[in-house]
Amino acid sequence: MSSLLWFAIALTRAWTATYTRGLTADLRRERRDEIDCDLWEHQRLADLQRTPVSGTAIEILLRLFFGMPEDILWRFEAGSQSAIGKGTQVNESESVLIRGLSVVAIIVAALPVAMGLSAVFGVNGEWAGTWERTIYGGLWASSGVAIVAGLILSKTRPILGITMVVVGSIAVSAFWYWVAIFTVPIGIALTLIAFFRARQTGWPHRGDGGLPSATA
């Protein structure tokens, strides 16, 4: 198996594992098994048709990326149904999960902040003292700050918080477009985490789009 195909399969499985977290064990296992089966059948067909491995890997990645919005929507729907069936148990496990993911997300989002600040204030390197370095460094840092702030705000100001995460993620992906294969899924994951943080407060059903109610 080529490294690109291995990466495509691993990324698809990792994504499936991520968005099925917090669901009931049966639902989670069923979705993961179904995706595993799909990946296996896809590879088998590619082998039979002697399709180039890189083509198969790219097709798997595209199927993954194009399906992400539907995966997120499905997760919301499935999560609501699980919560109805299982009471608060799912919400509690989801709460712990989201808290853990939020910490990881903030650490990840701090990376462009650190890189931006080191570009602005650092003294070494071929860009040393140039205005480009200051501008790019400032933009990198601002993108990271937007994501961190958005993640934090997503509980109290869901729409503003999620928007900041989306804008920051798009900016980071644009700055480092040559590694978009990593930055795009990371950006989607960060947005998803902001969504789930917002949802914990009852949004969007609480209707105010702003501060959570006292009972939230």
């Binding site: 979705r31 098994d33 799909d38 896809h42 097709e59 194009f66 399906g67 919005p69 539907e70």
Partner: protein, 120 residues
């Protein structure tokens, strides 16, 4: 995607059509990848249907009673050295919905509407 209550999305129509075609060819039960491949071949698409789009639509159709599914015996899958398959089949309600949907397409097209599809 938002849609009117009682209508089918194009992906749902494609899944039901493919499922019925499989049955006509003698394969009454099908798994997700078979559907993706069938839709790609029939529509001449460059890509297989995205994972999220396909499995969410299958889930929706199942909850609407148009598809039923069951997991194959894990021993069978293990003997063949592959993951177990979730096998779907189109129900009578799914067939009826598709027939009604296909009947509605020319009417809507002649009325200048988007080719949405109506379910019972």
């Amino acid at each position: 995607m938002r849609r009117k209550k009682g209508t089918l999305l194009p992906i749902e129509t494609s899944i039901l059509q493919a499922g019925i075609e499989f049955a006509v060819r003698g394969a009454a039960r099908f798994h997700g990848f078979m559907i993706a491949k069938e839709i790609k071949d029939r529509d001449g698409a460059k890509l297989l249907t995205a994972h999220g789009t396909l499995y969410k639509a299958l889930d929706r159709l199942q909850r609407a009673g148009m598809l039923e599914s069951d997991w194959e015996d894990p021993l069978v899958a293990a003997q063949e050295g592959r993951p177990r398959r979730r096998l779907y089949h189109v129900t009578a309600a799914g067939e009826a919905a598709l027939v009604k949907a296909l009947e509605a397409v020319p009417k809507r097209a002649s009325a200048g509407q988007r080719p949405g599809i109506v379910t019972p």
